[in-house]
C-alpha cells in the first residue's frame, strides 16, 4: 500500500507513548499515555484505527508493536507487567541519557 510506513522500532527499543488527547477515536489507552515502555514484538502493519474510525478513505497502514510497561512505572506500585499493542504513530523513541 502506498500509505504504508516502514518500521521505526524493533524489539528491545525503549519508547514513550505520546501524551496527546485527540478529539477522535484512538486506541492508545489513556493509562499508558506519556509513559515509557519497551518494544517486545513487532506485529506487522495494520490500518490505523484512528483513521478507520473517522471513515478516511485511505487509512494509514502502520507497524503495530507489543510494548511492555512495568506496573511501577504506570501506577507507582505493583510488581507486574502490562503489555499494550500500539500503532507506530502513538510512539516516540526514547534516547538513553
Amino acid at each position: 500500500m502506498s500509505n504504508a510506513s516502514s518500521a521505526r522500532f524493533a524489539p528491545g527499543d525503549r519508547v514513550r507513548v505520546y501524551n496527546t488527547d485527540p478529539v477522535h477515536h484512538t486506541r492508545a489507552p489513556r493509562y499508558v499515555r506519556g509513559h515509557q515502555g519497551v518494544v517486545v514484538e513487532s506485529q506487522g502493519a495494520w490500518p490505523l484505527a484512528d483513521d478507520r474510525a473517522r471513515g478516511l478513505p485511505h487509512p494509514r497502514v502502520e507497524p503495530v508493536y507489543t510494548v511492555l510497561f512495568s506496573a511501577h512505572d504506570l501506577w507507582g506500585s505493583g510488581a507486574h507487567s502490562v503489555t499494550v499493542d500500539l500503532w507506530q504513530s502513538y510512539l516516540e523513541a526514547v534516547t538513553e541519557v
Binding site: 507486574h80 507487567s81 502490562v82
Partner: protein, 196 residues
C-alpha cells in the same frame, strides 16, 4: 472506557443500518442471522482447549504455536479467518515463574471467532480497570492464589491481535492422552483467570 455495549451509539447505529438494509431489500433478517450463526458456529472454548491439549502433548506443535499461532492452528482445522479480516492470534505460555492474563481495557476484544462470545465479566469495567492495576488481588478473587514468586504479565488487546493463554499442564496428568486432557481446560484458563 465505553459503557455497556447495548446502549452505545454504535449499537443503535448498527440496528438502524440493519433496518435500512432490510427495508431496501438488500438483505433479510434471516440472512443476517445466518451470517452471524455461521460466524459463531463451532466458535466455542472447546477450540482453545484442543489447542492447549495438543501443545501439552506435542512439543514441536507447541513451538510452532508460540512462534506463529495463525500458521499453527490450521493443523487442528481451526483458523482466525472467520471474521471479515484475519486477526492475528498470539498465544502466551504460562511457566512456573510467570502467569499471563488477557484483557481489552478499551472495549472487549476477544478471540470470538475461535472461542465464541466472551464471558460477561470480561466486558465489565470492574475487570478491565482492575486487572491492569492489581492483577494479583483480582486473580485471588477469582480463586487463583498465585505464589509470590510467580510474576504476572497482563496482555491488553488494544489493537488487531487477539490473545490466548497456554496454561501449565496440571500435575498428575502425565498418563493422560491428548483427548483426555481436552476437558480439563476451561475458558477461564484460556483467559488466565484460572490455572487451567
Amino acid at each position: 472506557m465505553s459503557e455497556s455495549h447495548a446502549s452505545t451509539p454504535v449499537a443503535a447505529r448498527v440496528r438502524r443500518l440493519e433496518e435500512r438494509l432490510i427495508e431496501a431489500g438488500l438483505v433479510s433478517d434471516t440472512e443476517l442471522d445466518q451470517i452471524l450463526a455461521g460466524y459463531l458456529a463451532g466458535a466455542a472454548p472447546l477450540n482453545g482447549a484442543r489447542i492447549v491439549a495438543r501443545a501439552w502433548t506435542d512439543d514441536e506443535f507447541r513451538s510452532r504455536l508460540l512462534a506463529d499461532a495463525n500458521a499453527a492452528i490450521p493443523e487442528l482445522g481451526l483458523s482466525m479467518r472467520s471474521g471479515l479480516q484475519e486477526q492475528r492470534l498470539k498465544v502466551v505460555a504460562n511457566t512456573p515463574r510467570r502467569h499471563n492474563v488477557i484483557v481489552c481495557t478499551l472495549c472487549s476484544c476477544y478471540p470470538i471467532g475461535l472461542l465464541g462470545p466472551s464471558p460477561s465479566w470480561y466486558k465489565s469495567e470492574a475487570y478491565r480497570s482492575r486487572v491492569v492495576r492489581e492483577p494479583r488481588a483480582l486473580l485471588d478473587d477469582f480463586g487463583l492464589a498465585l505464589p509470590d514468586d510467580v510474576e504476572i504479565t497482563v496482555w491488553d488487546s488494544s489493537a488487531e491481535s487477539r490473545y490466548l493463554v497456554l496454561p501449565l499442564r496440571p500435575a498428575g496428568t502425565a498418563g493422560l492422552t491428548e483427548e483426555e486432557l481436552v476437558p480439563l481446560v476451561t475458558r477461564e484458563g484460556l483467559i488466565g483467570t484460572a490455572a487451567v
